[in-house]
């Protein structure tokens, strides 16, 4: 994993030095060590290193802190709203709708009995992914979940939640024994056991790649459409209206995709936890 991050840094360096069209697009969707407020200037973030591992604060880390801080502040306001009465007033109404949606449409149907311990995890995943994606639509900021390290971390959290949920409900050996359906001939078992163990890892990996690619794809398409104006230098007055029109359409589509992908990530996590906890199905 460190090599992949190292490779990204070297690619980012070559991208900064080269001048082609793809370099411009990659420069805008990749992580960087400075926050650009063009044309007002830029802000260099510190390079830190711990035992030779690069833990410098990059743009994505900085914006993930902003998203987390905003989420903490909003949730403290909502929680305080419930202290006086069970009926929410003001902004807690909006969050109550979303929280009830996550509970009744996502967690309860898939996990069933004993779903309460898993509610905080799913609420955190849903709100963080939605808010991080929405932040990416603002100018001068970046999509936190558009970094594969961040989506890999979220998928890792889901992976550990699935395993811990399954082991807690079925016991350590019982969980792994329950992975294979009962009553199988021994010949099929030789194929099924590696397949099931591989399946434990491919499902969170798919979650990671799906979220990452969905977040990046929208940005790349919008940047390509806008870059088309600069590519066709001599006829920019003809290309610009069409290009900007399509870019606005894709931008609105991105809004829809962000919410759908947050919903998909949360419901797939809860589906896998439900399958691990209630292995009889």
């Amino acid at each position: 994993m460190i090599e992949i991050i190292q490779d990204t840094v070297t690619v980012a360096d070559t991208v900064h030095k080269s001048e082609s069209g793809s370099a411009w697009i990659l420069h805008h969707v990749m992580d960087s060590h400075k926050i650009n407020f063009e044309p007002f200037g830029s802000f260099n973030l510190p390079h830190l290193s711990l035992f030779g591992i690069d833990i410098s604060i990059t743009k994505d880390i900085f914006f993930s802190w902003i998203v987390a801080a905003l989420l903490i502040v909003l949730m403290i306001i909502v929680a305080k709203n419930y202290k006086k009465s069970l009926i929410p007033k003001g902004i807690a109404n909006l969050f109550e709708i979303i929280i009830i949606f996550v509970r009744d449409e996502i967690v309860k149907p898939t996990i069933g009995k004993g779903y309460e311990p898993y509610m905080p995890l799913h609420l955190s995943l849903f709100f963080f992914i939605t808010l991080a994606g929405l932040f990416g639509l603002l100018p001068y900021s970046t999509t936190v979940t558009g970094n594969i390290a961040v989506t890999a971390a979220l998928a890792g959290i889901s992976f550990f939640a699935i395993q811990i949920g399954g082991i807690k409900s079925n016991g350590f050996l019982g969980y792994f024994k329950g992975l294979v359906p009962s009553g199988m001939p021994a010949l099929l078992l030789i194929i099924i056991i590696p397949l099931e163990i591989l399946g434990l890892f491919t499902k969170p990996f798919a979650l990671c790649m799906r979220l990452f690619a969905n977040m990046i794809a929208g940005h790349v398409v919008v940047l390509s459409l806008i870059g088309l104006i600069f590519l066709l230098k001599t006829v920019w007055f003809a290309v610009s209206p069409i290009s900007v029109g399509f870019a606005i359409f894709i931008y609105l589509l991105e809004l829809l995709v962000i919410i759908i992908q947050a919903y998909i990530f949360t419901i797939l996590t809860s589906l896998f936890i439900g399958m691990a906890v209630h292995q009889e199905h």
């Binding site: 690619v11 793809s22 990659l26 449409e105 798919a206 790649m209 799906r210 990452f212 690619a213 969905n214 794809a217 759908i260 992908q261 919903y263 998909i264 419901i267």
Partner: protein
């Protein structure tokens, strides 16, 4: 070499054919089911979106491989 870019382009096209066919078939049967039984339209719509996101996820795997090819070239 430029062959990597050619591979990335052709690969992305084939991936998109697969994803488009899959989601098109899904949407066709979902529309038919909603027409047969309008009361179940909400449930069908929810399940259609989940299945579409899963198929699209596969499409994006292929797309990411094509982007990796195009970057390394």
């Amino acid at each position: 070499m430029d062959l990597a870019w050619l591979g990335a382009g052709i690969g992305a096209g084939i991936v998109l054919i697969g994803a488009g066919l899959g989601i098109g078939k899904l949407a066709a049967s979902a529309m038919e089911a909603m027409g047969r039984q309008p009361e179940a339209a909400g449930t069908i719509r929810t399940n259609m979106i989940i299945a579409a996101a899963l198929i699209e996820g596969l499409g994006f795997f292929g797309l990411v491989i094509c982007i990796l090819l195009a970057i390394k070239a």
